[in-house]
Amino acid sequence: MAKSRADIEADVRDVLVDALGVDEDDVVSTATLKGDLGAESIDYLDIVFRLEKKFSTPEKPFKIAQGELFPENLMTDPSLVEAGKVTAKGIALLKEKVPHVDVSDFEKDPQITKLPNFFTVKSLCDFVERKLGA
């Protein structure tokens, strides 16, 4: 049986509590992984591994490819970032590759260093929901 949105949110909350050592109450939909929950670089890999484990079933493995959830090496091409800002081409690529991240506000001032501020708990839930439904 397919997981409901509430099930997915509860499972994502468990993953974040375990990976980041945060309080369950702090894991709200709008919380950002970096700013609000204190995620550091290696935590993203930890989160990926834990999501895979949490949502895999014997019938359907839940495997997350590199760059599929977090666009870590997506922005290395010079045509995507100019003077620290993500170009229009870069924004288009983000929308295509990481649709679970809402970049509508990011677009207004697309400084690459601010991109992690747009990764929220909701982004993770959207990602899982979309991937499970695929």
């Binding site: 670089s41 290696i42 890999l45 930890d46 591994f49 895979e52 484990k53 590199q66």
Partner: protein, 175 residues
């Protein structure tokens, strides 16, 4: 000189599991400080938990490094959890049993158990459980360049790796 906190690799299943042991000796100077006599309290030499953690990190690190034949610079990135529930005393042997949970280009996660053999009890007893995450340094460099030479699995690991048959004798770390 890197401080080695395991003495020997005793079991190895490629990409899966690695087991190492360490004999704890009163000749190790840190045990005289951990803990020295204080006032009426007698000395109490016990293996520091931080070094038990390092022993597991070296055991699991070799397991992770072996997957790519020690070409990756494998560094401890995160102690996910560490529970140590029993002291380890001089004259006892520590066994680190590390299992590779998950691995990709960026890094790996491991789960390990720590046991100790006590001659007083003539038996192994569980000590704790340690979950770790390792990063492949060159895949996560974030603009930082590291030396070509693999300083992680350098000369200090040579005896261990060659003794366990994980690396052929005479092959240098840079090779």
């Amino acid at each position: 000189m890197r401080w080695m906190w395991i003495d020997r690799v005793i079991a190895f299943e490629p990409r899966k599991r690695l087991v190492a042991v360490k004999n704890v000796s009163l000749a190790e100077e840190h045990l005289h400080q951990h803990f020295a006599a204080q006032g009426a309290l007698p000395p109490c030499p016990v293996m520091p938990n931080s070094l038990i953690l390092e022993g597991m990190a070296q055991t699991a690190g070799i397991l992770v490094g072996s997957v790519h034949d020690f070409r990756e610079k494998v560094v401890l990135a995160k102690v996910v959890s560490a529970v140590i529930e029993r002291d380890i005393n001089p004259g006892e042997t520590i066994r680190y049993d590390a299992v590779l949970e998950r691995m990709d280009d960026m890094g790996a996660s491991t789960v390990g158990t720590v046991d100790r053999f006590s001659f007083a009890d003539n038996a192994w007893a569980p000590v704790g459980r340690i979950e770790l995450m390792f990063s492949h340094l060159d895949q996560n460099r974030a603009g930082t360049e590291f030396p070509e030479e693999n300083f992680v699995f350098g000369e200090n690991f040579r005896t261990l790796l060659e003794g366990a048959g994980l690396r052929k004798a005479g092959v240098s770390s840079a090779g």
